[in-house]
Symmetry: C2
DNA sequence: ACGGATTGTAAAGGTTCCCTAACGTCCGGT
DNA sequence: ACCGGACGTTAGGGAACCTTTACAATCCGT
């Protein structure tokens, strides 16, 4: 079915997953991949063998994308994040809807659509959650975890990593709470368990310890 | 993999095919489906059994879509044609590219994207080739085959049926020759084998007998 | 140092969707 | 009346991708 040069959705999905695990600074091991893709560990084991024999990854001393695997992953991630931008900015979908939709579009968009969408959107550098779009001229800002901000300090939301998209409902909550890249707020309290209370756009929101340690902010 | 209520791409593909065969006034038989979908006859035979057991078609006295099958087909065709409009009008893709792309998008677009795209495009009633978009308020114009126009008579292109998308390169040719819905022209000659010569936008184009018998025009 | 959790793998199997080869049926023209 | 073609189906098989069950290896806290 896939034409010459194209790649199976499954290959794309696995390479993308490996790419994002690395991006999120999570150990790139089969067990993590199985969790993110919601498949059994044997399925991942088998697929790793296939990906290796296809030259998309190497497995000596940890799973790593080859040049070809990295290219494929970046293409998929780029399309995913461009699609998310399009779906939120132009079609006005919510974060959550856009994310799910983009998860399908990424395997289906052609190169010309990718280019046309990039043009239409004015070559954006990040997805709606602030994650960089591969191939764009994104400049990594000075950012630190929200959890490292002191009580009373101001901050600007910089980036909500892919990782948090796996907690059901969290994205919706963050979007509704105006916790979106570019917004600024203040930390008003820190609970001993790491939960932060923030003041953003006039209202107060509690953010759990895990999410706080992952969300990146700048001063 | 498909969530509850969703349908497998294969089911969608077959129902869409049946829908379009009917629309093109072609006998809805397995052999035609096999041709259009480029699969073997046994593959179609097997799938017909599956579609019937899923309640999407009936086969007593010819293949016919059930209510559910018709709904599914219309949804898919609607998404295909909306996508084509979007891809040509907004992203400036060529007919051919848009058609191929839409063939993948149709299985991937969610209901909210369908709605948002419809809004963005101003509820179009036809695809770029003039085929009606199911669910729109398309009004069938008085149209007759291009082949029935007399020499010297003027006409306006109304519709290029799906059928012609299966002749490789024909769509590209028609688009480049300005043979697009809404354009008007004149028949300047008819060859005995049915080939027409048209004058459109200042230049002359020959159109074969088969294409002429399928392309619809109004006066 | 040990026992429980985490991780990877092997074995066997299932579904979906497709293929080729081969057969039987039916229909229209000579 | 017969024969070639078109059509549908049976039989057998295969690739992709997933599952559950079970078993080794490895890591880690007390």
């Amino acid at each position: 079915m896939p034409a010459a040069g194209e790649h199976h959705p499954a290959f794309e999905e696995y390479c993308e997953c490996i790419f994002e695990l690395k991006e999120d600074d999570v150990d790139v091991i089969q067990a993590r991949i199985a969790e993110r893709l919601q498949v059994s560990r044997p399925a991942v084991s088998e697929m790793m063998r296939r990906l290796e024999s296809e030259g998309l990854i190497t497995t000596d001393g940890g799973i790593r994308l080859t040049r070809a695997g990295q290219d494929l992953a970046e293409r998929v991630v780029r399309r995913h994040r461009l699609a998310e931008r399009f779906l939120t900015d132009v079609l006005q979908l919510s974060w959550a809807e856009a994310h799910h939709e983009a998860g399908r579009w990424e395997h289906v968009m052609s190169e010309s659509v990718e280019a046309a969408m990039d043009r239409l959107l004015g070559s954006p550098t990040t997805c709606p959650h602030g994650n960089p779009i591969p191939g764009s001229d994104y400049i990594e800002p000075d950012a630190s975890p929200l959890s490292s901000v002191d009580v009373g300090a101001k901050f600007v939301i910089s980036r909500i990593p892919e990782e948090l998209e796996f907690t059901p409902g969290l994205l919706e909550f963050l979007e509704e709470s105006a916790l979106v890249p570019g917004t600024n707020g203040t930390v008003t309290a820190i609970s001993p368990d790491g939960t932060l209370t923030l003041e953003i756009g006039g209202h107060h929101v509690g953010v759990g310890a895990f999410a706080s340690s992952r969300i990146l902010v700048s001063a």
